[in-house]
């Protein structure tokens, strides 16, 4: 059952699930599309992530109760599908500062880490945290390592990191606690572009090793 809870006096958080699952993301994106196709009065915008959708509203036009009444009946009626866009290649130079440590922790050679990381497609579950940061799920069990004990103050844009069962790409230079294994020259955030980010939730990508 969807959980609907206020996030302050101008937003409502719809929680569809609590795990990383393509079907849950499919439901989030379907709900998001339904609200854009038939926008309830006073809804200003939505923000999807993994298994939840944040709905910003104008409190002078609507309120949390009315918005919930509009959204509740959509549970079970929106058509959810596993997202399946075309797969974008992300050319990646695997020379990240944490690659040797990740290899030690996973009992793999660095080449083995690269092979496992680059050897599959990933689903984008969220663009968030900072501009353009692209969260992907579905990392191999074998590559699952915890976040760094103390985050770096500066991680360069384009850095490819792993943490838990996720891999991600930093869109801008920012602090960060993920294990950095590589870097891409692909520009994930460009304020002059429309849209300003390269990926969105539901996209699929693949890391392609380059020298």
């Amino acid at each position: 059952m969807w959980q609907v809870a206020p996030a302050g006096d101008r937003a409502l958080l719809i929680t569809i699930g609590t795990i990383i699952d393509p079907m849950l993301l499919g439901q989030v994106l379907a709900l998001d599309r339904a609200l854009q196709d038939r926008r309830p009065k006073g809804l200003l915008g939505t923000v999807p992530a993994y298994a939840s959708l944040l709905c910003h509203y104008d409190p002078s036009i609507t309120d949390a109760g009315r918005l919930e009444e509009f959204i509740r009946p959509l549970e079970g009626t929106v058509e959810a599908a596993i997202p399946s866009g075309h797969v974008v290649d992300v050319a990646t130079r695997y020379d990240g500062p944490d690659l040797p440590e990740v290899a030690v922790k996973t009992n793999l050679a660095p080449a083995g880490v690269i092979e496992q990381h680059a050897g599959r497609e990933y689903l984008v579950y969220c663009v968030g945290f900072a501009p353009g940061f692209t969260y992907c799920g579905g990392l191999s069990h074998q590559l699952s390592v915890p976040r760094l004990a103390s985050p770096r103050l500066r991680v360069p844009a384009g850095s490819v990191g792993i943490a838990g069962r996720q891999t991600g790409i930093y869109g801008v230079e920012s602090p960060g606690g993920w294990n950095l294994i590589g870097r891409t020259a692909l520009r994930l955030f460009d304020p002059a572009a429309d849209p300003p980010v390269r990926f969105k939730a539901g996209d699929r990508l693949r890391f392609v090793p380059v020298p």
């Binding site: 302050g8 958080l13 944040l54 036009i61």
Partner: protein
């Protein structure tokens, strides 16, 4: 034109921000004390979208090469009484100086600071390090051009003192429970509201870290969710982070409560060491609080 002689501690160009881009990881941004910023524009007769300077702790020194009407609002500054439109003569220097009480002062110049719009706003975004003309806080040697976003004549009287927000702690910050209040055992909300929290030095436009002496909220990380300004996150060590206007757009800490819109400007003026108490309110009281403040001004909802 205005020349920056000294940038001050952390002075950035801000307007009303760029809400609606959170799905790209871009925070809404804009003036942290949106109320004081709005009054500054109103006093000099600017359009509400005009950009101004947000000064932090200690303001800049500026040389004007034209006659201009300006207004300083927000935290109290050494250099003037503030909260009124005043003339600055061509060739003269305006030194904002130390800001206290309060942490942030706003300097509006009639016509607005003219820098290019980036994603619909002139605001500097701390989280993404872009916008605000220079993509960074002001530094000595920067030249600020003045725009033409003028709407009406400057105000002839000071802004009434009884239509201003407090500048000193201890702060009572009103919150609405949730969205993850249920994730906490027992009477966590009641215990939170009974705790005198203390602001650490780690406060900026992204968020404010608070110590919670005696309050041990048991929690663990959750699946990443989208978050809003005002979210009171509980970290695994039991500390609190209150997100502000340049907040990260998603997070993995449970959000026990969310600051109401009317009280977000107060957190822009709170200083390290200040005491913060959270009071749980309902949406009716949140709406009433916003109406009170926005009634002083023609603020959007």
């Amino acid at each position: 034109m205005i020349e920056v002689i000294d940038g001050g501690r952390w002075t950035t160009i801000q307007d009303r921000g760029r809400p609606g881009l959170e799905r790209f990881g871009i925070p809404p941004g804009g003036a942290a004390d949106c109320f004081a910023a709005c009054v500054a524009n109103e006093l000099v007769g600017n359009e509400p979208d005009a950009a101004l300077l947000e000064c932090t702790a200690s303001g800049p020194r500026l040389r004007f090469d034209v006659d201009r009407v300006v207004a300083i609002t927000g935290g109290r500054v050494d250099s003037s009484d503030g909260w009124q439109a005043v003339g600055v003569a061509r060739g003269s220097t305006l030194a904002i100086g130390t800001i206290s009480p309060g942490l942030r002062a706003y300097l509006a110049v009639r016509g607005g600071i003219d820098v290019p719009l980036v994603l619909g706003s002139r605001s500097f975004c701390q989280l993404g390090t872009f916008g605000g003309g220079f993509g960074r806080p002001l530094a000595a040697g920067d030249q600020l051009h003045i725009g033409q976003l003028v709407e009406h004549e400057p105000a002839t009287a000071p802004w009434p003192p009884f239509h201003r927000l407090p500048l000193r702690g201890p702060w009572e910050i009103r919150v609405i429970a949730g969205p993850h209040a249920d994730a906490f055992a027992g009477a966590a909300l009641e215990r939170l509201s009974a705790t005198a929290c203390r602001l650490t030095p780690a406060i900026d436009r992204i968020g404010l870290r608070l110590e919670t002496p005696g309050l041990r909220l048991q929690t663990q990380e959750i699946l990443t969710v989208p978050v809003t300004a005002g979210a009171v996150q509980v970290t695994p060590s039991g500390g609190l982070i209150v997100l502000h206007v340049d907040h990260q757009t998603s997070g993995g800490y449970p959000v026990i409560a969310t600051v109401i819109s009317a009280d977000l400007p107060l957190l822009a003026q709170a200083r390290p060491g200040d005491t913060v108490r959270f009071r749980i309110v309902d949406s009716t009281e949140a709406a009433r609080a916003w109406q009170r403040v926005s009634g002083w001004l023609d603020l959007d909802p």
